[in-house]
C-alpha cells in the first residue's frame, strides 16, 4: 500500500527583495495511512505553506509530491480541484463557511459537488453533524453559531466525502479554551478512527493529539519524532505525578 503523502525535495520559493524567500525548502516527508501528524514551529517557519502545498492550494516551485501514490505536483488547477474535493478535507482557523448557507448546507456542499444525490448528501451531513454534537444547529446560518460550533460544522464538511487526508491549519486558533477542548476531543476521535490527519498548530494541546511531530524552522523540517514514548500506563502516570513508580 502506498503512503498517503510522499514529498521529495518539496520547495516553495517566492521572489523577495534580493534573495528569494524560501518558505518551504526541500522538504522530504512521508505520511502513512492512518497516521496523525502535527507540525509545529515559530511563526513564518513555513508550516502553513507546507500544508497548502500538500493540499494543492499552492504549487511547489521544485520537488515531487505524491498523493496516494499518484504524482500530483504537476497537476493543473482544475485537476487539483477535483482531487481536493474527494481526497482532501480542509479545516481552517477562520472556519471558511459559506455565510449564506445553513450549517447542514455547508456540510453537504462538497458531496453535491462530487455528484452525490441530494438525499444521500443530506443524510450524511446530518449524521456527521449529529456525531459532532451540532445536529440541533443544522438549520442555522454560520453567524448564528458560536466559534466552536462553526468549527465543528467545518470539520463535518471536511469529512463528508470520506477524504484520504484531513489537513487542519490552526483549527483552534480562533477558539476559547472550552471550545478548544471540544475540538481536541473530536480530533482525538478522528485519530483513533485512523483518519490520516495533518495538524498545523501553535497550540501544544493540538500538537499532542498526534502520534508524530514535525518541527519546522526556516522552511525545513528540523525534527521528525514520535510522541508515543512506549511507556506503560503505570510508568507514564508515575512520570506525570512526579512520584516514583
Amino acid at each position: 500500500m502506498s503512503a498517503v503523502i510522499e514529498a521529495r525535495g518539496l520547495s516553495r520559493h517566492y521572489p523577495g527583495n534580493g534573495l528569494p524567500v524560501r518558505a518551504v525548502d526541500s522538504v522530504d516527508v512521508v505520511i502513512e495511512r492512518g497516521e496523525a501528524v502535527s507540525v509545529m514551529g515559530p511563526s513564518g517557519c513555513g508550516k502553513s505553506t507546507l500544508l497548502h502545498l500538500l493540499g494543492g492550494l499552492e504549487r511547489p516551485t521544485a520537488g515531487e509530491l505524491r498523493l496516494d501514490g499518484r504524482r500530483v505536483d504537476q497537476l493543473s488547477e482544475s485537476a487539483w480541484a477535483r482531487l481536493r474535493r474527494r481526497g482532501v478535507g480542509f479545516v481552517f482557523q477562520a472556519f471558511h463557511l459559506v455565510d449564506e448557507l445553513s450549517a447542514v448546507e455547508n456540510v453537504e456542499l462538497p458531496a453535491l459537488l462530487v455528484g452525490m444525490s441530494r438525499r444521500e448528501a443530506r443524510a450524511r451531513a446530518m449524521k456527521l453533524l449529529d456525531r459532532l454534537g451540532v445536529a440541533d444547529r443544522a438549520g442555522h446560518l454560520p453567524d448564528r453559531l458560536s466559534g466552536g460550533q462553526r468549527q465543528r460544522v467545518a470539520i463535518a464538511r471536511a469529512l463528508i466525502n470520506e477524504p484520504l487526508l484531513v489537513l487542519a491549519d490552526e483549527p483552534t486558533g480562533n477558539l476559547d479554551s472550552h471550545a478548544t477542548g471540544e475540538i481536541l476531543k473530536i480530533l482525538a476521535r478522528l485519530r483513533d478512527a485512523q483518519q490520516t490527519l495533518l495538524l498545523v498548530t501553535h497550540d501544544p494541546r493540538v500538537a499532542a493529539v498526534a502520534d508524530r511531530l514535525l518541527s519546522m524552522r526556516d522552511g525545513s523540517i528540523v525534527e521528525d519524532t514520535r510522541l508515543e514514548g512506549g511507556l506503560s500506563r503505570q510508568a507514564a502516570l508515575a512520570q506525570i505525578a512526579g512520584w516514583e513508580a
Binding site: P42, A208, T225
Partner: protein, 171 residues
Amino acid sequence: MREAMLALLAKEPAHGYELRQRLTRALGPIGEVLNPGQVYVTLSRLERAGLVRADQVAQTAAPDKKVYEVTPAGREHVATWLLDASWPKVAPVEFHLKLVAAAATGLADPVALIDAQRRELLRRLRDVQRLADDESVDADGVLLLEGTALRLQADVRWLEACERRWTGWRS
C-alpha cells in the same frame, strides 16, 4: 500528601486501607500510582507528630487493624493548610539556568536542549490528554488531568520564548 491525608481523616476516622482508597478516588488515574507504602509511612509520621491518634481495633477473622483519628492539633494543622495560599515552584528556575549554563560553558546548544525538552513535554501532554479522554475517569480525576495539561501547555509556550531568545545567541 501529608496534609491531604490529614484532611481526609478530619472528615471521619479511617484505617490505612480506607484512607488510601479515598485518596485514590480523589486523584483519578494519577491515584493508580500512589505508592501504598507511602500512605502507611506518612500515617506513622503523623502519629509521631501528634497530629493523628491510632486506635487498635481487634478483629476476629483478621489481624488487628489501626483506625486513625485526627487530634485537635491535627485539625488545626488542616485548617492552616487549607487556607495557605502559597503556590510552590512557579518559576521554571532549573531549566532556565540550564540554558544559561549551556550557553556560558558551551557544553551544549541551548536550542537543542529546548527541542529535547519540548519533545518530552509534548509526550507527557499526549499521555495526559489520552488519560483524560477515557470516558470511565470520573470528574475529579479529569479535573486534575486538565490542570496538568494546562500547565504542560504553558511550559511548552514558554519554551517558544526560550527558543526566540537562544536562537543565534552567539551572534
